[in-house]
Symmetry: C2
Subunit: 291 residues, 2 copies
């Protein structure tokens, strides 16, 4: 299929319940979800963060025991399904990397096989007890349906990281997430959903964030999966906390190549990089001034 | 008054109707709005973008005729009111600068007088026909109530620019805006409000955006003024399009000094500046790769 094209791409978020320490069960749930999405015509399926393992490890030993290599059973499952159904799968993986380090990763597989792995660069909560953070800018993969970028959960709360991905040409950002439920005022969307909306509008790219649901070792998950368009408005979701859910949206990914905003503006072209230098300094400007 | 303190600061957004080409009328409206805010106990009052001039100039000559210097009548008005009522005023000014250039500016005045001027760095629509863009990072002013940052309208749609301001220690970002009304899906907030929410949560700082209302030469304004807390939730507004409005919120500005998110995270400390270098490059990474 040639790209850009005038067609839309059917994007799905397969919001799941997952159980820490039950990898066979989790892999089966993911397989079923991908099959359901494929039956609904999905060309891109996004799964939650740490789909194989679950999230709330008892200890480091449990995290290590659940980690698997990129040539392990989860990626094998997803690759087989990607080939069978001619689709792209983006999902979260508790990974043991080539050096034996445990990573909170996301992979992109398509009919060609494993195309990219991203290791979460911004670790949340007690994740640094379990995982070694990534050291790379987020990847963007040129697939048959468009350029797809990957990041994981807390990564997308750093808009400078999201911007780097947009500048590398992503049409669609896929974000496996595990959003623990925080209190919020009545009638308000979760803060994480608001950030997804802002990231999409700021960069005029589609964003699909796939969350999980249910409770795990006392933690309730937000279940806020959402697919957002170039203007920052949801085209599917936000989902609710009520359980497994399949969000589907037809996204004109080619339209993300045009960063124009009216006749005079361009959300990337209007940037003033010379005014942003302080944000890549590793020194704290406050401390700098205090010296 | 010592800062940080345990008190809250009363922040107001004085959403106004303005008329292009009627500076006396606009200045009077601003004076009345500041007096109303002071009567309501406000310690910081934010006014819209281009409060003295209005926005939709007929031509360059009209913009030039409405521009005034920093020692002109508008800043004089605001300084007198800041002294009389012991408050901070942040407002938008069509400015003729010291070199005779016309600027879309925002000023901060307090009982000490004029403390800072910001010239809009990201121009929207046909503004580049009328204004010379600013060339500086956004200012942060240490006032008696806390550190207040300034930017104008489209500036805040560049989260890397907002981050620069947060890294310079702003507790509260005040944003005079003129948001033209764009269509949006039923039940959705304006995209600009979503960005304000995300900017606040991303940096754990308060943000007060003051819009205008009514119509001017056929353009309807969003009237979406909003004051947002550290978690990204509105504490006043979003206002509606129905006319002049005064938003008031008591904000614990000192709490913005703590960037912690739970016991393990810090929204500034968790940044990975080494992964963001590409965003300050002036070359387009896409073009770079194509070479």
């Amino acid at each position: 299929m040639a790209f850009p094209n005038t067609d839309t791409t059917r994007v799905a978020c397969a919001q799941l319940t997952l159980d820490v320490g039950r990898p066979e069960r989790n892999r089966a749930a993911a397989r079923t979800a991908i099959e359901r999405a494929a039956a609904a015509g999905a060309e891109v399926v996004v799964l939650p963060e740490l789909t194989n393992s679950g999230y709330l490890f008892h200890d480091v030993a449990q995290a290590a025991s659940l980690a698997e290599p990129l040539h392990g059973p989860t990626v094998a499952d997803w690759t087989a399904l990607a080939r069978r159904h001619r689709l792209v799968v983006v999902g979260g993986l508790c990974e043991r990397d080539e050096d034996g380090l445990i990573r909170n990763s996301a992979v992109l597989v398509d009919p060609q096989g494993l195309r990219a792995v991203h290791r979460k660069a911004h670790l949340f909560g007690s994740e640094n007890e379990f995982f070694v953070p990534g050291t790379e800018p987020p990847p963007v993969v040129d697939t048959d349906v468009g350029r797809i970028g990957l990041m994981i959960c807390y990564d997308q709360e750093f808009p400078e990281y999201v911007r780097a991905l947009a500048l590398h040409g992503a049409d669609l950002l896929c974000v496996p997430v595990n959003w623990p439920l925080f209190p919020r005022p009545d009638g308000e969307r979760p803060s994480e959903v608001i950030r997804v909306q802002a990231n999409a509008a700021t960069n005029r790219m589609f964003v699909a964030a796939c969350d999980r649901t249910g409770t795990e070792r006392g933690v309730t998950w937000t279940g806020g999966s959402v697919i957002v368009d170039l203007d920052g408005f949801p085209v599917a979701g936000p989902a609710t906390e009520t359980g497994d859910d399949l969000l589907i949206a037809d996204c004109a990914l080619a339209s993300a190549r045009d960063k124009g905003l009216g006749e005079h503006n361009d959300v990337l072209g209007d940037r003033r990089p010379e005014l942003y230098r302080s944000i890549i300094s590793s020194t704290d400007p406050q401390e700098e001034e205090a010296r």
